[in-house]
């Protein structure tokens, strides 16, 4: 927040680096999908790339790499519940008595 102009200039450079990286990763993920990898491998690869892109956007563009404690706290809580929401329903669907589905 209180960064003076020199510091802003420095972050502009990192924005550009991230921009290039995001483009490269986009090309990579599209290219990987052309290879007809086995489905589990393809899914893992695509999600890993997406996660890397996402964390770059979050940490650099959204300045999460140096944020205040209150925000980290709120986001940590959110991530925990997000993971619960993402996986527990499907886990309980797979652990099922009788015919699944």
């Amino acid at each position: 927040m209180h960064s003076d102009q020199a510091e802003v200039k420095k972050s502009v450079r990192s924005y550009m680096t991230v921009f290039v990286m995001l483009m490269v990763f986009t090309v990579l993920t599209v290219a990987a999908s052309r290879f007809h990898l086995a489905v589990p491998v393809a899914i893992t690869l695509a999600l890993v790339i997406a996660a890397m892109k996402g964390s770059m956007v979050a940490s650099v563009f959204m300045h999460l790499s140096h944020e205040k404690r209150a925000i980290y706290g709120a986001l940590l809580l959110t991530i925990v519940f997000f993971l619960v929401l993402l996986f527990i329903p499907v886990l309980s669907m797979m652990d099922h008595i009788g015919t699944p589905k």
């Binding site: 502009v12 550009m16 995001l22 599209v30 996402g54 956007v57 563009f61 993402l86 669907m93």
Partner: protein, 194 residues
């Protein structure tokens, strides 16, 4: 009466109200899209088969590039304000606005292509989830465009009166915008590639 910490940061938390507010809003958005991704996983795991390559990877990839670029112009619109260059800020903000419009135009062609083939949301679980997720995401883009239009138009006057508050507002708009970009970064592989 004046509400404290609308512009300057509260010393012990280091935050101004808007900053905390937008992050909380984004937290709720994470849960909103989280529920949709969860539905996607559950339905896909439960499906006997899942269609592949139903969508045009080319259009999807172009839109990815557009959104990533718009994120960069957005963050530059904020950085320009930090460097006291209002003219440049307006240029970057305008560019962001234009890129988001491109995104929606692209999406429009994509939608109408599928609809003309009869592949509407009623067609299959895949198209149901595709239209719902990208539709909701598209609404978020539209919302962002309304905010940007406001800051290009009537909202811009604040820069003269209270530059720090204006910069804060652009930062907040940016945070929202990067989040919309981030959602797309996951939507693209999930819907187009896998």
């Amino acid at each position: 009466m004046i509400i404290p910490y609308t512009v300057e940061a509260r010393p012990d938390t280091g935050l101004h109200n808007g900053k905390l507010g937008i992050w909380l809003f984004l937290a709720s958005e994470v849960m909103l899209f989280g529920a949709l991704f969860s539905s996607y996983i559950l339905l896909r795991v439960g499906a006997p088969e899942w269609p592949h390559h139903e969508l045009s990877v080319k259009l999807g990839a172009i839109n990815t590039i557009i959104l990533i670029s718009s994120s960069v112009t957005m963050v530059m619109a904020w950085a320009s304000l930090k460097m006291n260059d209002f003219k440049k800020h307006r240029l970057y903000l305008l560019a962001t606005f234009a890129l988001s419009a491109f995104f929606l135009v692209n999406k429009y062609f994509e939608y109408s292509e599928h609809l003309s083939k009869g592949e509407g949301p009623w067609h299959s679980t895949f198209f149901a989830i595709y239209f719902t997720m990208t539709g909701l995401h598209g609404l978020h883009i539209l919302g962002g465009m309304v905010v940007m239009a406001y800051f290009l138009g009537p909202g811009a006057g604040l820069w003269k009166k209270n530059p720090e508050q204006f910069t804060n507002r652009i930062e907040i708009t940016g945070l929202y915008w990067h989040f919309v970009d981030l959602v797309w970064i996951f939507l693209f592989p999930v819907l187009y590639l896998l």
